[in-house]
Amino acid sequence: MWRQWRDVLGILIGGAVVCMLLDALAFHTRYYTRVLDPHTSTGSLELTLSIEAHRQYWAKGVLVLGDSIMQQGFSTRVANYMQVARGYQFSNAAIPGTRERCWYYLLRDLDPDRTRYSVVVIPTESYDDRDLHDEDPAEQIYDLHYLAARLRLSDALEFASSFRSMNRRLEALRGIVLKGTIYRQDVQVFLDHPRQRIADVRSYRKMADWDSHNYDGLGHSLSIEDKQAMEAAFLEPVPPQRGYLAEYRRRWLRPIVERYRGTATRILLIRPPMNAIARRDVPPPTGHSIVRELASRPGVALLDEHAFDELERPEYFYDPHHLNAAGRAQFTPMLVRLFAQTIGAR
């Protein structure tokens, strides 16, 4: 009987192995990433990475990481034009929806020798380790989608174990081994009009860097409804303190900083303007701060947590958390000036 079951198990395992080989051929070789829709999470990270990897630096490179807040708020064109931070060339690699976990892998592939950048600017929502949201950042499964093309089989354990729940861990493991499960929707759309997709991706790739360089931000300001919704949200109780943020930062922010320990690359931690309305009754700090602890290390600098508080005004935001054109025009020079003072002073 065992012999018969062995035959069946052999067939099942054989089928699974052939399937994995086909998947690896199609998706682990990164051929498919060339035709990924740049508007998808994987596509947006790959596009940013590809543009950044091909960028020529004429001065010391400053890489600005971040999510949509930095993407909307920071203009490399203005920063580089100002000539305030002489000798430095800014580049914005902020990708909406990403956090430290994504930036860690992004930096690993972008700067494998740890020599490409002079400064890496990393935004944080606060310097204190207080949990600001109900959601557990470790459970953000979208990170798997952003990083689908970056993750190698050797990352499987490290990446999967960084999720808290077993379901998420299994999902992450499956996604790394069988990348087709992540690309599924994109493949289906691609198969609809393959030629059109290839042409679209080519033209988008050509224009994306130029478009983001010339982007000035959105013109409109925070609506009354958004303002009211924000005020209502401030009245809600502070989420229970479970130490998720501290744990997440220990797991992902610290390795980014440690990656550059002993190198010429400096890390600058900042708190950009986060809210269209400044919160008056700020919950008391926990007294613990991984960010401050990291800032005490050599090669790491920290801007004043309240450096951009004055920009947290409705007229500088187009929605509750994103700067508009006016806010962008204020934030970029401020950041560059503070950058010059902090980095230049070292």
């Binding site: 079951w5 054989g14 699974a16 052939v18 087709g180 599924r184």
Partner: protein, 462 residues
């Protein structure tokens, strides 16, 4: 615990490992325990219901076997009343309540009750009833062991949505149990993965198209959207239910039970009569033996035979759902089959009439798809809108994507090849690399074409 989740596959693996490491008697207990656990995972409250029905039918069969002639009929009636009564209450109460309220000119929900449909009730009650009727007819010996009988009712691979197995088929395998051969195990595993592929890659994709259309048919005017939605819906229920059946048959085979076929490539039928012979075959067989023949269906061309046919199909429609549009659907199919019988339209042999049969297949599909609009539309008003789109007005754009059309064509080609060459059996019997490649292909199809938010099996609601 749905069949297409990893939890179910873990459950299945554990049960299979334990099953082959236990003595025969303990195996039955294991399967029964696992089946009740499977049922409880869905809704623990209804375990009482299935236990009660099992006890009633088990007792009724013993009474029928032992009692004098005058007591046998009351025992049968009591058993049927219990089964039909519970089925009627859980599945049809709100339907009849709504119809009565409408008749009295009151709001539709005047007499509504909050009723949850117990899992697989339409299937296990039919299986139960067939057993008691067979005992009454003397075609089946009553089962003395309550564990064996309870397993027949609750056996988890077919508990939820069939196939509706006859007692003699089940107990033949239970009492003359023999280890599945290597080829049977291969067949079982291939059927499970094939069923999974049909469900998550084909049925759910087809559902996306038909759901989008039937949500608001007026938003998609034209013939092509209407026909493509109807065809998608047919594809959805076929792949969904035949996928489920394949998985059930495959799983049963792993435990040494050989269940009957439930679908035989219905889209290659050349008339509606043949559709009925190839679609949900175990239900058709049940209705034939316990409704159609007893009503007088054996005499092929008498008025009674036609009325039996119509009543049987109306009941088949009602079995599929508690709503008038299901009844209409059954009625329309009944009328078409009657018409085919009157005019002498019968399934043609491909060898004898290759061209005529090939020409008739798409016509039969179109008729079946058009009838299915009654099945899918939420009410007769929506069905009317769809028919208006199907048979008049502008052409419109089909709702299929290129790759969806490709998948459908590949599935059709495989069905034709299976009909001609029987590739599935060749695959089972072939060298080891053949099933390996087939499985790899199925896994890749599941990986790339499944829908992210998978849907429950359609027939679970019946």
């Amino acid at each position: 615990m749905l069949f297409h989740t990893w939890r179910f596959f873990l459950f299945l693996t554990i049960v299979a490992i334990l099953y082959y490491n236990l003595p025969t008697r303990a195996r039955r207990l294991l399967l029964l325990g696992a089946s009740y656990y499977f049922y409880i995972c869905w809704n623990p409250k209804f375990i009482v219901l299935i236990l009660a029905l099992t006890a009633i039918d088990y007792g009724a069969a013993l009474v029928i076997d032992r009692a004098e002639a005058r007591c046998r009929k009351p025992a049968l009636i009591a058993s049927l009343a219990a089964n039909l009564g519970l089925l009627g209450f859980f599945k049809y109460y709100n339907f009849f309540a709504a119809s009565l309220a409408q008749l009295l000119g009151r709001p539709q929900d005047s007499f509504f009750l909050q009723i949850v449909l117990p899992l697989g009730i339409s299937f296990h009650t039919f299986q139960s009833m067939s057993y008691v009727i067979d005992v009454y007819r003397g075609q089946q010996k009553p089962i003395r062991d309550p564990i064996d009988y309870a397993l027949f009712i609750a056996f988890f691979p077919q508990l939820v949505a069939g196939p509706i197995v006859r007692a003699r088929e089940f107990f033949r395998d239970l009492y003359n149990w023999r280890r599945p051969t290597g080829q049977e195990l291969r067949r079982g595993v291939l059927l499970i993965i094939l069923g999974l592929t049909k469900k998550v890659a084909l049925a759910d994709q087809a559902a996306l198209i038909s759901d989008r259309y039937f949500l608001n048919p007026a938003a998609h005017p034209g013939m092509l959207p209407a026909w493509s939605a109807a065809a998608s819906f047919i594809a959805q229920i076929y792949f969904d239910f035949s996928g489920y059946s394949d998985m059930a048959i495959g799983m049963a085979l792993l435990f040494g039970f050989r269940f009957p076929e439930n679908f035989r490539r219905p889209f290659l039928s050349d008339c509606i009569t043949e559709y009925w012979q190839r679609w949900h075959m175990t239900l058709s067989r049940w209705l034939r033996d316990y409704v159609y023949f007893p009503l007088g269906g054996r005499s092929r061309h008498s008025a009674r035979a036609y009325s039996s046919l119509l009543i049987t199909l109306l009941l088949a429609g009602l079995w599929h759902g508690a709503a008038w549009h299901f009844v209409f659907w059954g009625g329309v199919l009944g009328l078409i089959i009657s018409l085919e019988r009157l005019t002498g339209i019968r399934p043609l042999s491909f060898r004898a009439h290759p061209i005529l049969r090939t020409l008739r297949v798409p016509v039969a599909f179109a008729v079946f798809a058009a009838a299915a609009v009654l099945f899918r539309a939420p009410d007769l008003g929506v069905a009317g809108t769809v028919y208006a789109n199907m048979f008049g007005g502008a052409t419109g754009e089909p709702l299929f994507n290129i790759w969806q059309t490709g998948l459908a064509c590949a599935a059709l080609l495989l069905a034709i090849l299976e009909e001609w060459l029987g590739w599935f059996e060749r695959l089972v019997e072939g060298p080891r690399w053949a099933p390996v490649c087939a499985l790899a292909l199925m896994f890749i199809t599941v990986e790339l074409f499944s829908v992210s938010d998978s849907m429950p099996f359609v027939y679970f609601q019946f």
